[in-house]
Subunit: 241 residues, 2 copies
Amino acid sequence: MENPLIRKLERFVRLSAEDKEALIGISDRTRHVERHADIIRDGEQPDYVSLIMEGIACRYKLSENGERQIVAYLVPGDLCDIHIFILKQMDHSIGALTPITMIDISRQAMLDLLRSRPALTEALWWSSLVDSATLREWIFNVGMRTSYERTAHLLCELFVRLETVGLTDGIRGQVPLTQEELSDAVGVGRTHVNKTLQELQDDGLVELRRSSIEITDIKRLMQAGGFSANYLHLERPVFEH
Amino acid sequence: MENPLIRKLERFVRLSAEDKEALIGISDRTRHVERHADIIRDGEQPDYVSLIMEGIACRYKLSENGERQIVAYLVPGDLCDIHIFILKQMDHSIGALTPITMIDISRQAMLDLLRSRPALTEALWWSSLVDSATLREWIFNVGMRTSYERTAHLLCELFVRLETVGLTDGIRGQVPLTQEELSDAVGVGRTHVNKTLQELQDDGLVELRRSSIEITDIKRLMQAGGFSANYLHLERPVFEH
DNA sequence: CGCCGTGTTGACTATTCTCAACCCAGGTGG
DNA sequence: CCACCTGGGTTGAGAATAGTCAACACGGCG
């Protein structure tokens, strides 16, 4: 299995063969999480860093009355718990939206990696800063855009991020999320998301499937959502691979 | 002038006298920015890290039609542009909400500091992770809470963060923001924020002044906003100072 | 075959937005 | 010293987006 983290980081820096080897060899163990299970919960302290290899997960927070706000999606190549090094406990939960395959990296292995491989350290910093930028864009999305734009924008982001790790086929893309999972992310009611998606479908931008959404025209979808990938800071163009 | 960054970081780790000296001695030059001026703009590349010493600023993004979404407030002790090390350009702007005093730290000075002072490196990582956590909470705020709760929550966050660097007097706190500046942050229209603030005032939680808001009962304000400071990860209690 | 997770539809509600007018305090310049 | 101007704040009416609720459709899995 190709390593999606390497693929992602190489969008920013070129890694040497040794860097890549170090990254591949770091895996402690592989773990599977089933759909709807939590990978880690609010208040817990993780004891390793986890890397998503397959599937989609989300960071979320719960309100008192049990509503869920998704604050980020995690796709293959994303790291879960860098917090391990610094913070005492999680201030949010991470849940699996699809079946997940992930590898756990021990704290020590991670520290060794950072100490011996400056290129990787820089790349990981980059990844962390991009995560922050994504959160800012998410705020903008939820705070400023109409539900139509919001939904479109979110789908675009997922598309681009999946594309970065090679999980789409060019212009089309399958987003394996239910409408409820989308709803919790855009902060719009479930039924209203449905209506919004149908508008997008009527406009020929997406096609609704059972438990997933297919993007049929990413270009126009980006226009509809006011999407620009600049906040993802993909410095290097895609090539080779 | 006491250094607010040191004060902030000490809420997380204890710094040695040398650490503090290194941090104080790092200042390149002091700079003043007047209210409403931009400290840095979307698309630019900063050439130094800036530390807010006095005043309040905000990170914001503009929509096509010129509306502003504030995605974070910056208070004394906050660093502006860690991006300098990694990212090619800003994906948002930073503007002064009050007159600002800040010091600029050159890239090299910052790198030297990080290399020679591991405690500071860790503290800065902490600061960065807390910033991320704050963004997540901000999403939750904008996405899930009513305008009444939202406004209350935001005021609480500002109160606590100002308190962390010693800028409040216990139970009362002056928040020097106009209603428009609050409005752009909570993502609620200007006139509606006004109505919401009046409700808060009627309930005895705040008092409205011209160009500022005084928190009169932080405890009940926290209840009203569903505020819990856990996401700020203030590991150490306040003492000494 | 039947149930459950998902999706769909429609009616009704309400929070929030928009717009427009007006107020008020403080600073400025004549 | 007063008139004016500007930046902020206040109020109210009407419009609209989005939320809520409830019922139903549908397909796949057990």
